[in-house]
Symmetry: C2
Amino acid sequence: MTIAAIQKLFREKRLKVTPQRCAIYNMMIHTQSHPTAEEIISHVKQALPMISLNTVYYTLNVFETAGLIMSINNTHTRYDTNLEPHHHLICVSCRKIEDVFDDALNQLHLSQKSDFEIRGYRVEFYGHCLNCQKPGTSIRRNKRLAITHL
Amino acid sequence: MTIAAIQKLFREKRLKVTPQRCAIYNMMIHTQSHPTAEEIISHVKQALPMISLNTVYYTLNVFETAGLIMSINNTHTRYDTNLEPHHHLICVSCRKIEDVFDDALNQLHLSQKSDFEIRGYRVEFYGHCLNCQKPGTSIRRNKRLAITHL
DNA sequence: GCAGTAAATAGTAATTATTACTAAATTGAG
DNA sequence: CTCAATTTAGTAATAATTACTATTTACTGC
């Protein structure tokens, strides 16, 4: 993907075209890793030494809102005493977590071989809990759990 | 589960029986939510006002290591430009993330109905990447990605 | 091309979850 | 009951992320 194509993409998404945004997006599509904000800034600083971490976070949020990227994270570690195999329903609005018991989900496997020595997996369903479905009841704006890719 | 049963459980796991541990575990098995450390301490403080957040984290770590609980979290938000439906392989040692493309995983659904309005889901496989499988190569001790339940 | 406006940037500071360190207290083994 | 090892709780440190804000920049309509 060329710089011109990136600019075109931004315009289509009604995002202002800035050198910082181009550099960040360009770096991200040319890496196979899933970079953190720190990793992004350390690469982008080679071209734009003055860029701030703040701008990186702001830009990533803009990209995610625009549906250009997704983020992989939950803050707040939550602890669960239930050790039966099960998975989770997570409310993207209030962060409430409910258990899901579903035999089919407990028997997933990869169809291809992988270099990883896999020890387990988790399935997390994202959505709105009963309470947060009522209009105006959204307890918490939560950028980080945005699920624009889903 | 009674307090006596909790004490018996701790002894079986060779954990010292302390009022703090009993209170924390007792609170956790009597809630359907997946509490955060903050939520745990605010409940437990009613019985043990002097308890410190430090002790809560230490105790949760002890419980997780003993296989009594599991934690749900990743720190460090990672960003991904690939918006094709896909899932992730996460190395619990060095935190490296790889993409998984597997049609079967893209068609999961819940067998029961739920109150949640589900918008999407993620599958995360945990294990050791090729590099971290070599003995002595474990880059980072990482308590938080412990996967004792898997 | 240019002026005006709204948004973006890059600082600095604040916040928040978690971890580190440590002296004093407590638990369990003998 | 004694003693050693662990646990506790306090203070401080860390680290990721967000808030605030003055200045700069990019796009819109002329």
